[in-house]
Symmetry: C2
Subunit: 258 residues, 2 copies
Amino acid sequence: MMKLTLVKIGGHSLENKKDLHQFLIDFSRIEGVKILVHGGGKSATNLANKLGLNPTLIAGRRITDAQNLDIAIMTYAGLLNKNIVAGLQKNKCNAIGLTGADANTIESVKRPVKTIDYGFVGDVKKVNSRNIKALLLAGFTPVFCALTHDTNGQILNTNADTVASEIAIAMTEEFEVELLYCFELKGVLSDIKNRNSVIKELTTSVYRRFLKQGVISVGMLPKLENCFKALQQGVSVIKIGNTSMIGKGYDVFTKIIL
Amino acid sequence: MMKLTLVKIGGHSLENKKDLHQFLIDFSRIEGVKILVHGGGKSATNLANKLGLNPTLIAGRRITDAQNLDIAIMTYAGLLNKNIVAGLQKNKCNAIGLTGADANTIESVKRPVKTIDYGFVGDVKKVNSRNIKALLLAGFTPVFCALTHDTNGQILNTNADTVASEIAIAMTEEFEVELLYCFELKGVLSDIKNRNSVIKELTTSVYRRFLKQGVISVGMLPKLENCFKALQQGVSVIKIGNTSMIGKGYDVFTKIIL
């Protein structure tokens, strides 16, 4: 099977111009077919602040009302996505920026209201791997922001880590998929106060032990749950590490192993 | 040659939800391969107003400083483009939203400063028809907003009518192209005060006569110059009319003829 590299970039790396610049160079140099998924960083919050809106967070999740959805669409699909695409084009990577609505790539369902009404938030229902494959085979490099659609005209906000793992899983039908989560840290840390305490290999059993001990930071938990699910569903390799990880010769990162 | 229908929608039609809703239904029903180009309507001005920025216009052209470029990217490539794409997907049209940076479809050059510095405004240098054709043949319907790139990482603001005519011209290499300009009026008017004074057929000679008489409104002139250029360069049919023109059985519009 052909190899596919899927890179997710998020966090502060998106906001640091120098880091992002180097990342786009490194990403462009990855050989073979590849996909980029990016988060939103603080762009939506920044625009909301300028407009005098207060974003609401419950349990670390943004509550997406109609105004905040518009802001997410403007910043994720607009400002961030298009500047990343233009930056990749500069590096001769034939990028094409997408939401899940574009080419009907990612269908989602508006999250049902139980105790919390998340608003316009979508849980991924189906990734149309055939449409993504058509873009790859036509020579394009898809660049996804974390927006999906309900196929009934509604754009929905979706967690970027989840978008990355769901695309990775869907693409295993046709590709050998390597999934790389890039952010500002060097990997999953065993001591949150020590940025060099990178866990080199994180297996399910080690994860369970760390979980009991409360070693792993709360923010990291959904990301890791996504990773183990993706490995179980056929993704070949998953690494979590610094944005510089995709450059040549950088070998500090956390490898996730079943 | 295969037929390609290229529709440009702009003006108030983008802001009227009911008109836009019907337009997206009608556009989805157009048979064969097709492309949509949309303008920005008042969306950028609205966002600029909310942010307390004053857009500067010189000779009817928006001066695009860095802040206004960000606003254009957020509203044209984000809010407008993605909601149009989601609306087309609802109607089973497999739309894919693009700027000229995406798939390197439209390369432009930052307009040189002569008497006026237009800022981040791009004049089209090259439409990569091969990349657009690849998307069409893969079964997608490209939806362009009026942004291009300089291939050096810079997004540029470009007139939407020009984007439409330049794409139409480039696609004549491989397709028989019909170009439809849709807006809120019924066509080119011989009396600006009478919305029913539609010129049915506008030839170059009639155009020159009306031009001398000052009959045609100033806002219409660049659009018509684009039309005659496109016809000279191989576009088969050009019509200007109301957004409802693309629906079945509607026959009031201006046909542009060399």
